[in-house]
């Protein structure tokens, strides 16, 4: 993106000022109660927490787009895959599930992966399409032979309460890393295929993998109960009920002038916020260090001119694969954190418009290539996305106040929620055209 309209340099105060404005918005949300703000710290902090998670996701997307110019349209899939980790790692084990079909299931998955690996090996050695087809068909039959009975057995195990394989009972914080690992593996597989080809192909391939991961999570009941959802995922922070029964906490809350119920909610959200902030800052630190290192310079060189970088002996495809995996891992971590924050996994909620394209709007608005920009864009857009739900109908109500009552007015009032999509699309298009470097341009 050369010849942009913005000047390359910008004031050093720009970032602090923008972040300060954002902070003021959150304080207003927490303190002022009127038609625009809720005046509840619980709401304000809830928006902030989700905003911070969006920021981590945006950080991952920014690594792929800002550092390497890779267009990942499957963010929703990597988030969902990350969200699987808390369920598989930190939920208590389901009684009888492993005995029912655990080993057979593992064997099936091993056979599946093994067959693919053998097929790959045979292909590189012989280049024989016939042999590959035979191996794949035999492998598929073997896989289904092992897989189907295992799944039936696991799903038959106490189906009203469980029917899934269950977790390992490990700490939930560990599952965040595992979530990143899951996403990284998926990214490796997809990147191996689609990178090195035309740039659109990665976009289309990731669009596909995103939809498939969500479809798998909806339909494979043995994995995480599918659309029956998983609830009560363990928390890394205190529970509201325990706080409300704790006399020390009640006294502490009263000294600040809060009721115990409200204060316990705020306390939990503040604990989450601290956790998220720490992780976000660590990730930014690592990302910034990487970007300033020789590796980062090489990545930017590749992004700005692939041909030249290749001529200098850089393996462009390999570097792209590397940064694609790293970015996806960060997205996976965010996905695991998201599920932990909600305490439940609902595969139906993974909507690509909300989890892929909104994240993209955040990155573009914030400033592609700039990590702080991604954070700023994420929290700002998330705040607006939530508030537009309140402001939109109010605005339309105001605009249509002069209109006579009738079906037209009713239709306009009903359609306010759809305005969000138009607004977000317009924001993306306008920023892309008039300020392609975003709120906080890359230095």
């Amino acid at each position: 993106m050369s010849n942009t309209r913005q000047s390359a340099g910008y004031s050093a105060w720009r970032a602090p000022v923008l972040f300060a404005i954002l902070a003021i918005l959150f304080v207003l949300e927490g303190t002022v109660r009127n038609s625009m703000f809720s005046g509840s710290w619980n709401t304000s902090l809830a928006i902030l927490n989700m905003g911070l998670l969006s920021a981590i996701t945006a950080l991952g997307v920014n690594m792929q787009w800002g550092y390497a110019g890779l267009f990942n349209v499957g963010v929703v899939g990597f988030l969902a895959l990350g969200g699987l980790a808390p369920v598989l790692v930190s939920l208590p084990p389901v009684e009888g599930a492993w005995q029912a079909g655990g080993s057979r299931l593992l064997a099936a998955l091993a056979v599946g992966v093994g067959v693919l690996a053998i097929a790959k090996m045979v292909w590189t050695r012989t280049r024989s399409g016939l042999a590959i087809t035979a191996i794949l068909i035999a492998g598929f039959v073997a896989y289904r032979y092992l897989f189907d009975p295992a799944v039936i057995a696991i799903e038959a195990n106490n189906p009203s309460r469980h029917g899934n394989i269950g977790g390992l009972g490990l700490p939930v914080l560990l599952s965040w890393l595992v979530g990143g690992l899951f996403a990284a593996v998926a990214a490796w597989a997809i990147g191996k295929v689609a990178l090195g080809l035309r740039s659109d192909y990665l976009a289309i391939a990731t669009l596909g993998i995103g939809e498939i991961i969500v479809a798998v999570m909806k339909n494979e009941d043995w994995l995480a109960r599918g659309v029956k959802n998983i609830t009560s995922i363990p928390r890394p922070v205190a529970y509201e009920v325990d706080l409300q029964n704790n006399s020390d906490f009640i006294g502490f809350a009263q000294s600040w002038g809060f009721q115990a119920a409200e204060a316990s909610g705020i306390w939990v959200k503040l604990s989450y916020m601290t956790l998220f902030l720490v992780l976000l800052l660590v990730l930014i630190l690592l990302a910034e260090l990487a970007l300033k290192s020789p590796w980062g310079r090489m990545m930017r060189a590749i992004r700005d001119n692939e041909t030249a970088a290749e001529a200098m002996g850089k393996d462009v495809t390999r570097r792209h694969l590397q940064v694609f995996i790293l970015g996806s891992a960060v997205i996976g971590i965010a996905g695991a954190m998201m599920v932990t924050l909600d305490g439940l996994l609902t595969p139906t909620s993974y909507n690509p418009l909300r989890y892929t394209f909104l994240i993209w709007v955040m990155v573009i608005v914030g400033g592609s290539g700039n990590n702080w920009g991604a954070v700023l864009g994420a929290v700002t857009i998330w705040f607006l996305w939530i508030k537009v739900e309140v402001w939109g109908p109010a605005l339309i109500g105001l605009l249509t106040a002069a209109m006579p009552d009738g079906p037209m007015k009713l239709h306009l009032l009903d359609s306010a929620p759809h305005m969000r999509f138009i607004a977000m699309g317009l924001v993306l298009l306008l920023v892309l055209r008039f300020a392609p470097r975003g709120l906080l341009p890359e230095k």
Partner: protein, 335 residues
Amino acid sequence: MDILNALVVFLNFVFIPAAAYGAQLALGALGVTLIYGILRFSNFAHGDTMAFGTAVVILVTWGLQSLGITLGPLPTALLALPFGIAATAVLVLATDRAVYRFYRVKKAAPIILVMASVGVMFVMNGLTRLLIGVSEYRFDDGARFIINVRDFRDWTGLPEGLALRSTQALTLVVAVIVVAALFWFLNRTKSGKAMRAYSDNEDLALLSGIDPERVVRLTWIIAASLATIAGTLYGLDKSFKAFNYFQILLPIFAAAIVGGLGSPLGAIAGGFLVAFSEVAVTYPWVKVVGYIAPGYEPGGLMQLLGTEYKFAVSFVILIVVLLFRPTGLFRGKSV
């Protein structure tokens, strides 16, 4: 061995649905591939263009129905189609003027155009929701069946029935007409030849005095027509739901890439290939096998993959093509 009944079951549950679906995908993929050939980017807004066009068609259909105008045995939507095409063409031309032209003139990287198309997708998605809402609509009227199951059984005396819905037959007929018209246009008319020349070699076409903006406008109008027709046929055959048109984007892209991006013939072949694989892989073959090999008792349904994974089929086809022949079956562009 009962070949006849097996054949009827196969036709009824695999061949006819897959052929209709394939025709819809082919029309959609033609739009994507034409835009790729001329404008050189993958248009992520194509699914929502289809949805928008279909929404307009549905609204006009309702208007016509309330005026008492119908087409007798044919769906009224056919009469509404020109209005839908006109509205969609206006919308995409306006989009091109407001969004894409800027990047075209600037010669921005294709990926920026893809990203802009994502923004357009958002806006069009919102417009469609605004126009018609998010619910599911059925808007087919007229005769439901050309051949229905009971009549077929009475005629032939076979235990298995065969149904041919009028929307399926209509889809195939319309698709054949549209494709024939498109190929006639591309191969025989001056404008069509200009489009192909521009697609093959932009600089050479410019040197020969072809007006690029005119070519681009023509492309958008054709793409809008194809999208509206494909969307309407898909909606008539299944039902209209805005979100389904976003999901159909993946099979459409798969079809266009399998055929080779930029190759119209490839898009058609790709559409049918994707549709037939999708239906064949997700169909439970137990009944067909039962007729062909009466003695054999398979344990399960003989279904390779659950229907909920039908999108995985187009994805796998996509992956295989990317691995072994990234330019597609018909050697599309390899920019």
